[in-house]
């Protein structure tokens, strides 16, 4: 279990995170909804070890991670952009983490091959990254993270830069991968629908504070998530559509 206890972060005099507390069970995905500037990215970077917290503790299975460098935490942080390595082809991008661990060639081939098949990228393994579409790049990025079986995956609006259709495909793929790899992940997004589809558990971040919900109803009913406003909007659209005169009449 990942425990985040009283995490605080200030940049000079500006407080970005205040008393952030939550627990993430193994094989669970926590979706955190929040607007830009709410502190989501800072929180993920602190958990990954890319940013130093001003106070608080991060604990994984009873071990405090605060003083460990990012590589020792084994928590992979995925950015909004795929950030593939342009000097490597698709196969080597996915194999990157295994190469760092000096895995033997046979294991690398097996694991990467299986991962590429699972992601539907088998036929693209020799392509360079500039030959891929946005969705394919994001899939390679996923594969690169999942192939090393990280205990926790942190996803910072990974589908934010994709078009609607590709985004939908990636959400479906993520859901499939979540089941297949028993993922433990923290998924941040500013898209309510995405947060609901992806998360086993839901949270909301605002002004550097996080609030976790017991169930979907609580999440939807909280005015802070603005889910009600969204629902009203779509209900209005549906009502307009229902009143729309059909061609037959």
């Amino acid at each position: 279990m990942l425990e985040v206890k009283n995490i605080e972060k200030s940049f000079e005099k500006e407080s970005v995170l205040e008393q952030v507390n939550f627990q993430l069970e193994e094989n669970q995905v926590l979706s955190v909804l929040g607007r830009s500037g709410s502190g989501k990215t800072t929180l993920l970077k602190i958990i990954a070890g890319l940013e130093r917290e001003s106070g608080g503790e991060i604990i994984w299975k009873g071990q405090t991670l605060n003083d460990l460098p990012p590589n020792a935490r084994k928590i992979v942080y995925l950015y909004q952009e795929a950030l593939l390595f342009p000097h490597l082809n698709v196969f080597e991008n996915v194999a990157f983490g295994l190469r760092l661990k000096h895995e033997n060639e046979k294991v690398v081939k097996e694991k990467v091959g299986a991962m590429l098949e699972a992601l539907g990228l088998g036929e693209h393994e020799n392509k360079m990254t500039h030959q891929l579409s946005g969705g394919q790049k994001q899939r390679v990025s996923f594969g690169r993270a999942l192939v090393i079986s990280p205990p926790v995956l942190l996803l910072d609006e990974p589908f934010g830069a994709l078009d609607g259709e590709t985004r939908k495909q990636m959400q479906d793929l993520f859901f499939k991968m979540k089941e297949q790899f028993n993922m433990t992940a923290l998924f941040v997004t500013h898209d309510i629908k995405e947060a609901i589809i992806i998360g086993d558990k839901l949270g909301h971040m605002q002004n550097g504070r996080i609030k976790l919900y017991e169930d979907l109803a609580q999440f939807l009913l909280d005015p802070a998530t603005e889910a009600q406003r969204e629902l009203k909007f779509w209900e209005g659209v549906k009502a307009d559509l229902d009143n729309y005169p059909s061609k037959d009449s």
Partner: protein
């Protein structure tokens, strides 16, 4: 290729090569007196002198090569890490502005401004002083070029490699170095050329005691020794030509 474009390319090529060919021709002349329309005496003397160990031109060429390689190496290496440091520094814009400063002034004015300090620290008129003086313009140039390379996404790629299990060294060696090889070569070539053709700073700080090939060419020109000036000019053009070829062969082709 059609004949028309080929003809124009040949004309442009000839135009580019013409000054170099003229210099080469002059380096084999000994006399060309009015009203003769072609050189009166030809010689290999200057080229033979060049390859004599005690020859001044050979010494000057070696000094120039040594200075330029040192300046290019230090600028490329230091600029790489300073550029990265600057990229994450809160005062990034101010540091960058400072890097542009040596280029706002002409090198001679810059030299006049710093000469006092060089004299005070015993750096005027010696090899070390010239190296430091040239670094004052080559290093900021390297930093400016690297500034574009150390973009947020480049830094994020390094961080991503860390979260994928890489140590700081692995992230540097397996991500930063392969991705920066092109820009490193460009910076090395450019700073080499800055140093190679540098005149004002080297003249004022070196006080004529440190002779580079560029200074030598000017000296021969002012002495109206056009044939030796031509030979020095040929030597001056050779390293840039080699760099141009290497650049085309290994840098440009790499990215096309």
């Amino acid at each position: 290729m059609k004949k028309g474009p080929r003809f124009f390319i040949a004309i442009i090529g000839l135009g580019i090569a013409f000054p170099f060919l003229t210099l080469l021709l002059f380096s084999f002349m000994k006399g060309w007196f009015f009203p003769s329309i072609s050189p009166t005496t030809w010689t290999l003397d200057y080229w033979i002198q060049l390859f004599q160990v005690e020859g001044e031109l050979l010494q000057t060429s070696l000094t120039s090569i040594l200075i330029s390689i040192f300046v290019a190496f230090v600028s490329t290496l230091l600029g790489f890490f300073l550029g990265k440091w600057m990229a994450t520094h809160p005062w990034r814009k101010w540091w960058l502005l400072l890097a542009y400063f040596p280029f706002v002034l002409s090198p001679v004015i810059l030299a006049a401004g710093i000469q006092f300090f060089f004299i005070k620290f015993g750096l005027s008129g010696n090899f070390l002083g010239v190296l430091i003086a040239q670094l004052l313009i080559a290093l900021p140039y390297a930093i400016i070029i690297y500034n574009g390379f150390w973009s947020p996404s480049m830094l994020d790629r390094e961080k991503l490699a860390r979260t994928l299990g890489g140590t700081a060294w692995q992230a540097f060696w397996r991500v930063s170095i392969p991705l920066s090889s092109g820009v490193i070569l460009v910076v090395f070539f450019q700073t080499f050329l800055i140093s190679w053709f540098e005149y004002g700073l080297t003249r004022l700080i070196g006080l004529g005691k440190v002779k580079t090939l560029t200074i030598q060419v000017f000296q021969f020109v002012t002495e109206t020794n056009i044939f030796l000036a031509a030979l020095s000019g040929v030597l001056l053009v050779v390293p840039p030509l080699i760099l141009l070829w290497v650049n085309k062969r290994f840098v440009i082709n790499q990215w096309i």
